[in-house]
């Protein structure tokens, strides 16, 4: 997504400050020198004094316009940004979206949610569960070549055999 173009000796320091991950394929160029702008990219020219503001801007860019999912509970309907869901799970006939402590019933099928949230870093870990990568606290390989995911809300999920490859790919391994 991003490429940082500053002088070599400052590169490491600034990159750390911005908490930046540079990628080979990028859309945005961050630079302090307008000569270094690239024609076909979105360029952000910043002043080193502006770094705190730049950090907030980068957050905004990456989080982007989050997509909302509508969920129901006994109190009614709620529109929630997808990044707040820890995972979606099929239980019996219903699809639930789990927030940190509560869960909402989602009136979509799991594959529909999956397609809708493409590009938002949700990954299928089993036929019945779609997990938010951003909400994984820790990954623990367990016995029987299973992968346990400890989520940020304390719950634990399992990655099914058949979905390992996609899961690894999603983590870009």
């Amino acid at each position: 997504m991003f490429k940082l173009k500053v002088s070599e000796k400052e590169h490491k320091v600034i990159k750390e400050r911005l908490d930046l991950v540079e990628t080979v394929v990028y859309d945005y160029v961050l630079t302090d020198d307008k000569e270094k702008c690239e024609d076909d990219k979105l360029n952000i020219v910043f002043n080193k004094a502006d770094i705190p503001r730049l950090i907030r801007t980068l957050d905004l860019i990456v989080k982007g316009e989050d997509k909302n999912i509508v969920g129901f509970n006994e109190f009614g309907q709620k529109s929630v940004e997808s990044r707040n869901f820890h995972y979606f799970i099929v239980d019996g006939d219903a699809v639930y979206g789990v927030l940190s402590k509560t869960k909402l019933i989602i009136k979509l099928k799991l594959y529909e949610i999956e397609e809708y949230l493409q590009g938002k870093d949700f990954i299928r870990v089993s036929k019945y569960c779609l997990v938010n990568i951003g909400k994984i606290e820790y990954i623990k390989p367990a016995i029987n070549s299973k992968l346990d995911l400890l989520m940020k809300n304390g719950e634990q999920l399992e990655v099914n055999r058949g979905y390992y490859k996609d899961f690894k790919q999603a983590l870009e391994i």
Partner: protein, 907 residues
């Protein structure tokens, strides 16, 4: 090295330990890599992760490595001193326990040797993993409201039942497992969500015509206030009906409402803001929240309860039993009822660092307690059994009840929590997985100067299956012994007792994650004698490289094992000589069976998934011919529901063997199915659920051909509100039971329904009837109500606009021609064309999805590359969007900017 020469088992151990260390080293690396990647990924998402925990965890885990030499040195010393092997046999060295202090000392001593303080360490982690959180939300019971049905008049229940009826599909003959649907030839007992329904199903005099609901149990009448009983299984015999379930205690935590008006004017109740009150808070009148502003969460407390109803007294309640602890399992043998519960001891709370300010750890709280008809008894420390060398993580309580006298015995073992329960006529076996690691190497890696080196990294991390054996007799339970075998065991079918010997199948996994290549997996058959001593095993040849066990079944002198990675080797083991088990034969077929059941001596039924092209495809029911023990098993016949783009079929039988009905006499196999499909004619997704029936001809070894099967459907249209439980037969009649219906047909023609009884209501996820009248009201001026955006006036209330997801018709595969595009549905709709090659178009697609969800006109998406046939319109630049109305394009936009505007302006 004379030790090796003299002791072949030691060689085996040596190899095992080396294997373990290599395995654990790899596992460690795998874990580090995975979490590093996760970190990186989350950083690129600009999400802050708790890296400190990660570092600590890795450091601590990294410390848990072992130089094989160290471990072996320890082993040599230990073995030279004691002739018994560490893993293979645990001498019955029982510790004396007289008080809570003794238990605390046992735990402390053990944990000092093996565990550490980290939150993620194995000692405490495993406990959570096994038994789950104490604060699990109780399942919601409000889905099914049988209020009206409960008042139904009792139907006439005169008449005698049939003797010919189907019983529970138990693993061991004579050892009954609890189930959700049972019959005794006259009644059908159905556990339907939170109620138990007794349905008069058949009498010899009235046949199936008597079908009606006879009685219903709503357990609220038996429960004290603030507690709820949720049934999990039943038993029935000639004398009684026993209902078993969990008790949930309702604790109210108050949350206050505070409305939030969002930026687009939608008024949402702030459910999760506000401080919850604490249990024990004294609330003054001012502090007491308005009852309208509060609601309760249910907190689940571990208690298992059993109600015994007397059939001779028209199902009057006879006895009530309850047991503390997390429910593990239950069995019934004749008049004897057995329960197993586990109370996990949060030992880490005993450590200073982990103590919260106000918490005082009291071991007495965790002592198992049982209650019979109101009289309680708690385990005494003197009676608790502890075997030295076992991991003291929990109190596992075994209860035996003699139903005639209601005499109850309890035996408590301090040890490793198990979760796979296998019960024979004489013994209870409880198996669980135990993890261990060596502290010595932990120290080495926790040194700050240590530099992690992938190559030299080794780990002393090990695990094994621990088995607890209890002898049962007439309702009495007594501790017998413990044993251990390498690897992890899969389920209750992985164990079997025959002539006193225990046969058990386990799997050890060495997983190489990153290099590609095969996983190294060892599937092992172990045979233990009456004293749980290992006498023989097969540790190679079961499973191709990389394959682990998927299903096991033992039948007398033979064992059948299915392993899987891609093909489905079906192994037959000869166990006639327990000291010398051998692999008899191997049959390779694509796919795998998740569940095996012997039909008779010659045939085995397998249920699982077929494999057409290297993945799992399609539900498959196979019949294996194992009649010729000297030749490999033959696949006699199979029936497959192929997975296709248009749908797939699934059955609950793969994880619940009791859902399967097999009757050789009647010539049928029946199991619940759920089928998701796609109707191409009318373009919608279909959903069917019901009971699938196949004919089985054991003489010829055949199953129904695909197309000749029967599907007894219980779903109405495409609604999802029916959950299919089981099928049963009484006499020649076939009963299919779901949460909504009991349907009767004949075994010869199952699809021809003779009578239907509705036992459950339809339920959907509707919004509650009463909408908060305050919602949506922006300016209450006089009597005029103005609704906020997103709300529409309905009478005199504001009703929130329902966003219909039916507007999204997502279908990327079936649109092939312009003609289809222009005549997709009646009415007005939008079509959005995209191409994966054009990155902008893909990004815009996200907007389009949102647009579709929020707007009122249906929309769908077409991949430009899918369209065949003549290009009626020259699309030009992608993305491209059009509005179609009555077969004609009424407006269009091409290119990113135009489409953006277009999407925002459609009404």
């Amino acid at each position: 090295m004379s030790i090796f020469r003299n002791n072949p088992v030691l060689v085996f151990l040596f190899i095992a330990v080396v294997g373990f260390t290599i395995y654990m080293g790899m596992k460690m690396i795998e874990e580090i890599k995975l979490n590093k990647a996760l970190n990186q990924k989350q950083r690129s998402m600009r999400i802050k992760t708790m890296r400190t925990a990660f570092k600590t965890r890795i450091a601590k885990l990294a410390t848990a490595t072992a130089l094989p030499v160290v471990v072996l040195a320890v082993m040599f010393v230990a073995i030279e001193d004691a002739p018994t092997q560490i893993i293979q046999q645990r001498p019955l060295n029982l510790a004396a326990i007289n008080s809570a202090e003794d238990v605390r000392n046992i735990i402390n001593d053990y944990s000092d040797t093996f565990a550490d303080n980290n939150h993620y360490n194995i000692f405490s982690w495993r406990g959570d993993f096994m038994l789950g959180d104490a604060e699990v939300m109780a399942p919601t019971n409000d889905a099914l409201d049988l209020g009206g049905v409960a008042d139904q008049l009792k139907s006439d229940n005169e008449g005698t039942g049939s003797d010919d009826f189907s019983e529970t599909n138990n693993q061991v003959a004579g050892v009954d497992e609890m189930d959700n649907v049972l019959t005794d030839g006259k009644y059908m007992y159905v556990m339907n969500y939170d109620k138990v329904q007794i349905i008069l199903a058949y009498t010899n005099e009235g046949s199936y015509d008597v079908l009606n609901i006879y009685k219903e149990f709503d357990f609220d009448q038996f429960q004290p206030e603030n507690t709820e009983f949720y049934p999990i299984g039943m038993y029935v015999d000639e004398d009684q009906l026993i209902v078993i379930g969990n008790v949930y205690e309702t604790t109210c935590v108050y949350y206050e409402y505070g409305d939030i008006i969002t930026s687009d004017g939608v008024i949402e109740p702030a459910i999760e803001t506000g401080e919850p009150s604490e249990i024990g808070d004294i609330l003054t009148d001012e502090a007491m929240p308005n009852p309208d502003d509060m609601y309760c969460y249910n907190y689940y407390q571990s208690t298992t309860k059993a109600f015994v109803f007397d059939k001779d007294e028209d199902f009057a309640l006879k006895d009530t039993y309850s047991f503390s602890g997390g429910f593990v399992g239950t069995r019934k043998i004749g008049d004897d009822l057995y329960f197993v519960t586990t109370e996990y001891i949060p030992y880490y709370l005993m450590r200073e660092e982990n103590k919260t300010v106000d918490y005082v750890f009291d071991l007495d709280e965790y002592l198992p307690t049982y209650t019979v008809n109101g009289q309680s008894a708690t385990a005494k420390y003197e009676e608790i059994v502890y075997v030295k060398g076992t991991e003291p993580t929990s109190f596992t309580a075994f209860y035996g009840i003699n139903l005639e006298s209601s005499k109850t015995t309890m035996e408590v073992v301090l040890g490793e929590a198990g979760y796979n329960l296998y019960v024979s006529q004489d013994n209870i076996y409880l198996a669980g997985t135990v993890y261990e690691y060596d502290q010595t190497l932990a120290e080495k890696y926790s040194d700050e100067d240590y530099v992690y080196n992938e190559e030299t990294f080794e780990s002393p991390y090990s695990y094994y299956t621990s088995i607890l054996k209890m002898t049962i007799d007439g309702g009495d339970v007594e501790f017998n012994s413990t044993g251990a075998v390498e690897g992890v065991n899969l389920d209750q079918f992985s164990m079997d007792e025959h002539n006193g010997f225990l046969r058990i199948i386990t799997t050890t996994n060495n997983w190489w994650w990153w290099g590609g290549g095969n996983r190294e997996v060892i599937n092992r058959l172990s045979i233990l004698d009456e004293n749980m001593k290992l006498i023989s095993e097969i540790d190679e040849g079961i499973g191709e490289p990389g394959e682990s066990v998927f299903a096991t079944r033992f039948a007398g002198n033979y064992g059948y094992v299915v392993t899987f990675l891609q093909t489905d080797p079906f192994y037959v083991l000869d166990l006639s000589d327990p000291y010398n088990p051998t692999i008899l034969s191997e049959l390779k077929i694509p796919g795998f069976s998740d569940y095996l059941q012997p039909i008779n001596e010659d045939f085995i039924l397998g249920i699982g998934y077929g494999d057409n092209e290297g993945g799992t495809q399609g539900l498959r029911i196979s019949l294996y011919d194992v009649s010729d023990k000297n030749s490999p098993a033959v696949l006699a016949d199979s029936w497959t529901y192929e997975y296709s783009n248009n749908g797939y079929m699934w059955t609950s039988t793969v994880y619940n063997h009791k859902d399967l009905l097999v009757s050789v006499d009647k010539g049928i196999i029946a199991l619940p199915y759920t089928r998701n499909g796609y109707d191409e004619t009318d373009n919608y997704w279909t959903y069917n659920t019901g009971i699938l029936v196949l004919n089985i001809d054991i003489e010829n070894g055949t199953l129904s051909d695909f197309g000749d099967e029967y599907m007894v459907e219980h779903s109405d249209g495409n609604s999802y509100d029916t959950y299919v439980y089981k099928s049963k037969f009484i006499d020649d009649y076939f009963y299919t039971v779901s949460s909504k219906y009991v349907k009767v047909s004949t075994i010869a023609d199952p699809e021809n329904i003779l009578k239907t009884l509705q036992i459950g209501e339809s339920w959907t996820y509707d919004m509650p009837e009463e909408v908060n009248p305050e919602a949506g009201v922006v300016d209450p001026v006089g009597t005029e109500i103005v609704c906020a955006d997103g709300f529409t006036i309905d009478g005199d209330v504001c009703v929130e606009d329902v966003i219909s997801v039916d507007n999204i018709l997502i279908d990327f595969e079936h649109i092939k021609s312009w003609n289809e595009i222009l005549t997709y549905i009646d009415g007005r709709y939008a079509v959005y064309f995209y191409s994966e090659v054009n990155a902008d178009a893909v990004e815009l697609q996200e907007q389009a999805f949102e647009f579709g969800l929020e707007q009122r006109i249906p929309s769908f998406f077409v991949n430009i590359n899918d369209i065949e046939g003549d290009n009626v319109f020259d699309i030009g630049e992608v993305p491209y969007a059009i509005i179609v109305d009555a077969g004609a394009i009424t407006s269009e936009a091409s290119g990113i900017d135009a489409v953006m505007d277009f999407l925002l302006s459609i009404e």
